[in-house]
């Protein structure tokens, strides 16, 4: 490195260190992430990740005739009472599929989707998402959508099409920053006027004390009626609720209300401003120069290193002293590895508590602050009322409708997802068997062949969990589930396994949630895969594959290929 390089290096680092970074809000970031996670459920997300995973064992045979390639995939064994999952794949004559698919639903041969326009979305563009219709899952045309409502979810039941979405706030939504109107809209398939039913959401909170930063919605329709779930990200401004509180006051919220926190509890992952040096000290401690005692330490670093060496099993929190609302405090051990996470009201002394009613917050506002989904039911899809979920459910909800009623996978704020069911849409109970231990999140839920299937993530991969007579049957999926879709003919999953870029892309399919087939997406599409989504229709599965970009960044546009999988029998 030349002198100039070194000077440049020093100067750039000096400038970077001088950038004033405002305090972050990890709870808000996680809430945004949960909303985005919801958008992916049952749809598509183009992502290239690295992970390890396995897939079900299959028998694959291929044949070629006249340039048209066919690959048959068949599960090697059969289970009594189950339906074979064999698919025959071929490249479709069309190539412009839905790139950024938000929600898709199909009944009979008709599918509706909320998506960007067919074709590739150029890098850096954020095109409009609207309602599309298809008779084959391959070719999509724009469908008229409801007036004044931006559709975010779609459900098709027979000849009726439902959307759930948001529109501008009205006086009815309350004096809350960021609040929007949420509505279920419906029309008859084939085009008729749309009608809106505004969901009864109104916040009871003092003026200016509550702000909504986003909403996620889902809708499911079946013979028993229509269920809509609304997840709302809401935050409270404690300075508007409690006198003498400032922006810097540390506080925590729970089901009972708000706790104002004071000084740290030093025995529980305690920290002080001096601990800002701990990160650097950890790295320093591991460096060869430090081990060789090649340079003297400043007093601050020496103190930090000493504290590291004396750290207990929970070690130290490495974040700066938080301000405002905090839920948990992460701690790392002396080795720098994660050791524990301590609830904020254990890491800090509780100095005051306020119940929600003392703060003037109640009803749906309280639910939104606690992350609980608001769930609404209508027997005819035109007039909705709120229904209650069992205690212990919180976070984003994914809804499914079947002939026997409804099911929902509710993501806990910090715990595993919970599956709840209802025969009538109004009375909900937890599923008779909890999801297996180790399931950390849900990516989709639906019914296939009258069986309930939950696509779930674990800490090491992903699996489809099918509710059978004696519990949940787990079928391994690729570690990175990219897209999930349920449809009349079954359930399809696109996933990627294997470390590196590109990984091993696979498409899996089941007609009953029990027997699964799998195929290499690279093989069936005849080339490299960079991303994919899928639509499951009445008689075929359509996967839209995006190729990796090539050429110069300014001109690179990925190509698309569509492949069709047709079930045998």
């Amino acid at each position: 490195m030349s002198d100039l390089d070194r000077h440049l290096y020093d100067q750039l680092r000096t400038h970077a260190a001088g950038v004033d970074v405002p305090a972050g809000d990890i709870e808000a970031v996680k809430a945004r992430g949960r909303h985005r996670r919801h958008r992916r459920a049952g749809t598509a997300a183009l992502a290239v990740m690295a992970a390890a995973g396995t897939a079900t064992g299959v028998f694959v045979s291929s044949s070629s005739s006249g340039g048209s390639r066919k690959i048959s995939i068949e599960a090697p064994t059969s289970v009594p009472g189950t339906i074979g999952a064999r698919l025959t794949w071929r490249v479709a004559p069309t190539s412009a599929g839905l790139s950024d698919l938000i929600s898709v639903s199909s009944a009979g041969s008709i599918a509706y989707a909320v998506s960007t326009a067919p074709g590739v979305v150029p890098a850096g563009k954020q095109p409009l998402q609207q309602l599309y219709r298809s008779a084959d899952g391959l070719s999509w045309t724009t469908a008229s959508g409801p007036d004044g409502v931006s559709a975010a979810g779609v459900a098709v039941d027979g000849n009726r099409v439902y959307t759930v979405g948001t529109g501008p706030a009205t006086a009815a939504t309350g004096n809350v920053s960021g609040a929007v109107t949420t509505a279920v809209s419906w029309t008859d398939n084939g085009g008729g006027p749309w009608r809106n039913s505004v969901l009864p959401v109104a916040f009871n909170a003092p003026a200016g004390a509550l702000s909504v930063t986003g909403e996620a919605v889902d809708v499911a329709a079946g013979p028993k009626g229509v269920v809509a779930a609304v997840g709302i990200n809401a935050t409270a401004d404690l300075t508007k609720l409690v006198r003498g509180v400032s922006d810097k006051t540390l506080w925590s919220a729970n089901a009972n209300g708000v706790e104002v926190l004071g000084s740290q509890v030093s025995s529980r992952c305690g920290f002080s401003p001096a601990d800002r040096n701990l990160n650097a000290a950890m790295k320093l401690k591991e460096s060869a120069a430090f081990k060789a005692k090649a340079f003297p330490l400043s007093a601050a670093y020496r103190a930090a290193v000493n504290r590291l060496e004396q750290a207990g099993p929970d070690g130290f929190a490495t974040q700066q002293a938080p301000q405002g609302q905090v839920t948990t405090v992460p701690c790392v051990g002396a080795t720098g590895q994660p050791a524990s996470v301590v609830p904020a009201d254990q890491a800090y002394r509780v100095v005051r508590t306020y119940s929600w009613s003392q703060l003037g917050i109640g009803g749906q506002a309280e639910q939104a602050l606690l992350g609980e989904p608001l769930v609404f039911f209508s027997s005819d899809g035109t007039k909705f009322h709120q229904v209650s979920l069992p205690a212990g459910t919180a976070g984003q909800a994914y809804v499914a409708a079947g002939t026997g009623g409804f099911a929902m996978a509710v993501q806990g704020a910090d715990g595993p997802p919970v599956v709840v069911q209802s025969a009538d849409g109004q009375h909900w109970t937890q599923a008779p068997v909890a999801l297996p231990a180790g399931v950390t999140g849900a990516s989709g839920i639906g019914y296939v062949d009258r069986r309930l299937v939950v696509v779930g993530q674990t800490q090491t991969g992903a699996a489809a969990y099918t509710l059978v007579s004696d519990g949940w049957q787990a079928s391994p999926l690729p570690a990175n589930v990219i897209a999930v879709a349920f449809g009349p003919v079954g359930v399809g999953v696109v996933g990627m396994s294997g470390k590196g870029n590109p990984g091993s892309w696979q498409v899996l399919f089941s007609r009953d949630g029990v027997q699964w087939s799998t195929a290499s997406l690279t093989s069936v599409s005849g080339g490299e895969v960079d991303g994919a989504n899928l639509v499951v229709g009445a008689d075929q599965v359509v996967v839209t594959v995006s190729r990796p970009v090539t050429g110069q960044p300014s001109t690179r546009i990925p190509a698309q290929v569509q492949v069709m999988g047709t079930p045998a029998g």
């Binding site: 950038v19 004033d20 992430g33 992970a51 994660p338 996470v341």
Partner: protein, 178 residues
């Protein structure tokens, strides 16, 4: 694999931390550094904060995958930079880089304004490479992975950037020699 209703799986000897907790640690450790790096690349502190928060939300959304990457911070940097780029395009704004990013109360007095002016002359892609290499301290290979760019491209961008910076900052070398 059938999971019977009554059979509980054996408890692991050491319970792994839930991934969300793992993310909290990553967030606490990486956020400020990435914001500084993106600010150095875009020149807009507020936009960079917004971009990194968005990228962190996306990282949390798919944390089970992102945490397995060799450099999750690199992934967040790239996503944040792409997001900031698309926002600027939508706003029809030119790159705001002026070397006058918001400073802390006590900016280092030794910072050389000419360096920032020279940095501002670079193409944003060259600037990203310079920031990864010199601010974040990544190797060329690590920079290539983080930016999802071929190593040869990183090398050539760095070469062109260094050539321009050298020509603009020749006077500093002269001063140092004095």
């Amino acid at each position: 694999v059938n999971v019977p209703a009554t059979a509980a799986p054996p408890e692991p000897l050491v319970a792994p931390l839930p991934l969300s907790h793992d993310f909290e640690i990553f967030y606490a450790e990486a956020r400020d550094t990435v914001i500084r790096a993106v600010t150095m690349t875009t020149g807009d502190r507020d936009l960079s904060v917004e971009a990194v928060d968005e990228a962190m939300a996306r990282a949390f959304q798919r944390w089970s995958q992102v945490c397995r990457l060799e450099n999750p911070g690199g992934w967040v940097y790239r996503v944040a930079l792409n997001w900031a780029t698309s926002v600027l395009r939508r706003r029809h704004r030119r790159w705001p880089f002026s070397g006058s990013a918001k400073r802390s109360e006590e900016p280092p007095s030794v910072a050389e304004p000419d360096v920032m002016r020279a940095l501002a002359e670079l193409d944003v892609r060259q600037r990203a490479v310079v920031v990864c290499r010199y601010v974040l301290g990544w190797s060329e290979a690590e920079t290539a992975t983080a930016l999802s760019t071929p190593p040869g491209t990183v090398k050539s961008r760095l070469h062109r950037a260094n050539r321009l910076l050298s020509s603009r900052l020749a006077h500093l070398r002269d001063q140092k020699e004095l």
